[in-house]
Amino acid sequence: MSSNEVQAEIQYETVIGLEVHVELATKTKLFCACANEFGSEPNTNICPVCLGLPGSLPVLNERVVDFALRIGEALNFTVPQRSIFHRKNYFYPDMPKDFQTSQYDEPICAEGWIEVDGERIGIERAHMEEDTGKSTHVGGGGRIHDADHSLVDYNRAGVPLMEIVSHPAMRSSEQARGYVSELRAVLLAIGVSDVKMEEGSMRVDANVSIRPVGTTQLGTKVEIKNMNSIRSLGRAIDYEVERQTIATNTGERIVQETRHWDESEGITHGMRSKEGSSDYRFFPEPDLAPVAPTDEMRAAARAAIPELPAALRERIVAEWQVAEHDARVLVANPALSDYAQESVAALASGSARDVVNWCTGELLAYGNETGSEPNSWALSPIALAELVGLVGDGAISRSQAKEVLAGCLAGEGAPSDVASARGLAQVSDEGALAAIIAGVLEANPDAVAEYRTGDEKAQKKKRGFLMGEAMKASKGQGNPALLNRLLDAGLA
């Protein structure tokens, strides 16, 4: 028996820690009055301060402290009386001062946690720092080392970031995805960021290592970068765990390094390692005073925290009888959940569950397709409540309601007006529907006969056919529940 085979029998446990960078949605940058905007023309939101011109000095944006305090509150952090900024020194062309103003050993938020699927995940710290500019390397495969030349856009330089660093507390890619989803929902709910991974306003780096089950010492960690969705985070972790497991099982040593996730190939690449380890020569930023939030600032931040996602989900699952999954989808979108809550409050008939179904189905899709926010929709929350009521009262069918919804969103008016303008009404007159069923049975004796003699499969098929004919005969307006009942009676 070779040693490889012995090792192959060892069971490994995955250990994951996540570093999440979130761009804060303040109007202006961290240390100057330049607009904090995504998508402007390159190098238009810049000034001497965020360009780090000689002689310029930073002045801390108080709104950033307010947002940091909200994060502190929502993620159960301790916010000390005093925190300070440090300089992290290293050369990089998209960093105007060749140092990053960040926080180091005295961050604004220390030791917090977030609950994910009933388990508390510890968060070591969250700190404020400035973002860098954005480089585009032209030629040489898009890497700085081989590029012909590089273009730098400093619009992002000085944009405020919070870096939220978890403990190595997660044990699976699923848990890591849950952590990021929950974190994202919380940050959205408290209004501090738009947390869009695709646009880079939320960036997740994962530290992944493995160790034999039952041991407590951490294995050599590998940092993976460049995941642009929660799904790719999961894929990257799974790939990396497999890579590390195979490597370990074949006697290869895991090296501490940064690896780049390649979404199209579905693998991680080792990045060219820097010579030696970097020494950032941190020291306290002499141009900024310590951050000492007053009681008033703390109180204001606390007051700005709405009902957090976990509590909101629990409440709507209990009060509206919706599935946990649907509640999760709804609450992950604060604007939509506000919309749904307003609509439910306006319900006269029909169920809250129907409101949620419309919100997480057609309306969420509509919002994504059109890139629009609920408060801009032509269908108000009150109108949605009316639409749900029309279905609940049997005035229109569910399928008709979809057409009405589309008309409302297109600006054709209130649901009842759209329904009547389009001639959409459900026939629930039992006598009229009974006559339709009788006519269909009479016109299709073969099908009726086959239904009566056939096996279960044949029965199902023939019944479906007859129901279709009945619906056709009612011009699609027959109340389906009533037609079903009458058809069963006729076939009995």
Binding site: L60, R87, N89, R281
Partner: protein, 475 residues
């Protein structure tokens, strides 16, 4: 030649035009600048335009401000919009700042007329202006001697009467030491009294802008104009001392401490010590109570300074990488371009300090060097606090010797560093201090007496300075 206070009064009253004042000073510059080299850049046309604007205000019956028509020379590490700002370094070659330093805005708004950018040791690192990439400034009182530094050009400009006022910056003595060498008044205000916005940083926690002038009251006039809170500088103090101009000369009953560690030690020229003792006696004669006082941690100031200042400088000067402005020397990739640019752009002293500072901040050395130096700094602040419980102001020489000859200290950086021994502690403590000319040495060069005061103690410091000035300083 009249003082800045007199010029401003004459221009405000319409007795003289700002243009005639500017022309007169530009003529003086034209006659002697060739041999002195106080300036990197003389802004003659802009000065005349500013002077005309002042005259136009007077003609309209408006008050052009307290510096009406007074020529002011600006150290070339203060950003001036559209005017070359070099720090006397090749690395800023071709850079034109898109903005004015706050002090430049304030001087101009007060009716001051900027006449040019003065020479300095590269990035304010040095004590003789010999480290300027554009050649040294010569001491107007003796062309074989240095004017001091780093603000040597600003001190020489006032001494040569190129301008009645100038601005310098003081990180470890860079205003007071050249003021002493050139026989003019030089003030380092309390840290935070003058906005640093637009001052190209050397060591951020130590740098402070201050005035040079021929008289104590002229220095007060300029400090009044440039001091005060600035929202662009987070270290700017909300409530700065104001109205230092004509703020009295009465020192009766004031307690004055003569700092033994800065006065009674080897290395201090006996003539210099004698001058300080005469100044002390003059104050006593005017009713002050003078005693010797020990501030023990003072002697560690130099060591702490040469860790903290280079550490901060190593970070502040990182941005000169050839990517965005100034000099660029091409290389095979961006990092080689960075290195080649910095190698060609920085002089030897700047490189030495970047190396020192980088080392002091490195992993494994941080606690022994940078952190230890900060502890010394705390100790100095504590010792000064104890001294100021017993004394209103402290007294010492500004420099151990009078102005030295060119080349005398260039071979031995440490001997050069020692010329800041008396001034450094005030920067570490963040306290105000100023140098007042008081008599001459046997070499016929001026001697400076330093008055030190507690934080925001500018008012009492200026009163004592006026009393010393009034005593004349002749043996």
């Amino acid at each position: 030649m009249r003082s800045a206070v007199e010029i401003a009064a004459a221009v405000r009253s319409g007795e003289r035009t700002a243009r005639s004042v500017a022309e007169e000073h530009l003529a003086t510059i034209a006659s002697r600048e060739g041999e002195i080299h106080a300036f990197n850049h003389v802004t003659a046309d802009a000065a005349l335009a500013q002077a005309d604007a002042v005259d136009a205000k007077v003609a309209r019956g408006e008050d052009p401000g307290p510096l009406a028509g007074v020529p002011v020379a600006l150290k070339d590490n203060l950003c001036t919009r559209g005017v070359p700002t070099t720090c006397s370094s090749r690395i800023l070659d071709g850079w034109l700042p898109p903005y004015n330093a706050t002090v430049v805005e304030r001087v101009t708004a007060a009716g001051g007329v900027a006449v040019g950018k003065t020479n300095l040791d590269e990035f304010a690192m040095g004590s003789s202006t010999e480290n300027s990439a554009f050649g040294p400034t010569l001491n107007p009182l003796d062309l074989s001697r240095v004017p001091g530094g780093s603000s040597g050009g600003s001190a020489a400009a006032v001494a040569a009467r190129f301008a009645p006022l100038s601005l310098g910056s003081d990180t470890g003595g860079s205003i007071r030491q050249p003021a002493s060498f050139c026989g003019v008044v030089g003030v380092k205000p309390t840290y935070g009294v003058v906005s640093r916005y637009g001052l190209i940083a050397f060591a951020s926690s130590l740098d402070q802008i201050g005035p040079f002038a021929a008289t104590v009251n002229d220095a007060a006039l300029l400090l009044d104009v440039i001091s005060g809170h600035d929202r662009m500088d987070s270290t700017s103090i909300a409530a700065s001392p104001t109205a230092l101009l004509n703020d009295g000369t009465d020192v009766a009953g004031l307690r004055v401490g003569l700092v033994t560690e800065l006065t009674d030690v080897e290395g201090i020229d006996p003539e210099v010590r004698a001058a300080v003792e005469r100044a002390a006696s003059a104050l006593e004669a005017q009713g002050a109570i003078v005693e010797r006082i020990s501030v023990p941690s003072c002697i560690y100031g130099l060591s702490a300074y040469y860790l903290i200042a280079p550490a901060e400088a190593s970070s502040n000067l990182a941005r000169y990488d050839g990517v965005r402005y100034g000099l660029r020397v091409d290389g095979d990739d961006v990092y080689e371009m960075n290195s080649a640019t910095r190698d060609a752009g920085f002089g030897a002293e700047v490189k030495r300090r970047i190396m020192l500072g980088t080392y002091a901040l490195s992993a494994g050395f941080y606690d022994a060097y940078y952190a230890q130096a900060q502890r010394v700094r705390t100790l100095i602040i504590r010792d000064f606090a104890a001294a100021y419980e017993r004394f209103d102001v402290l007294l010492s020489p500004t420099t151990p010797t009078t102005a030295f000859k060119f080349g005398a200290k260039t071979e031995d950086p440490f001997s050069m560093y020692l010329s800041d021994i008396c001034t450094i502690a005030s920067n570490l403590a963040g306290h105000p201090a100023m140098s007042i000319p008081f008599g001459l040495g046997s070499d016929a060069m001026p001697i400076g007496v330093q008055v030190l005061a507690p934080a925001l103690g500018e008012s009492v410091m200026f009163r004592v300075a006026r009393a010393i000035e009034a005593a004349g300083g002749v043996a």
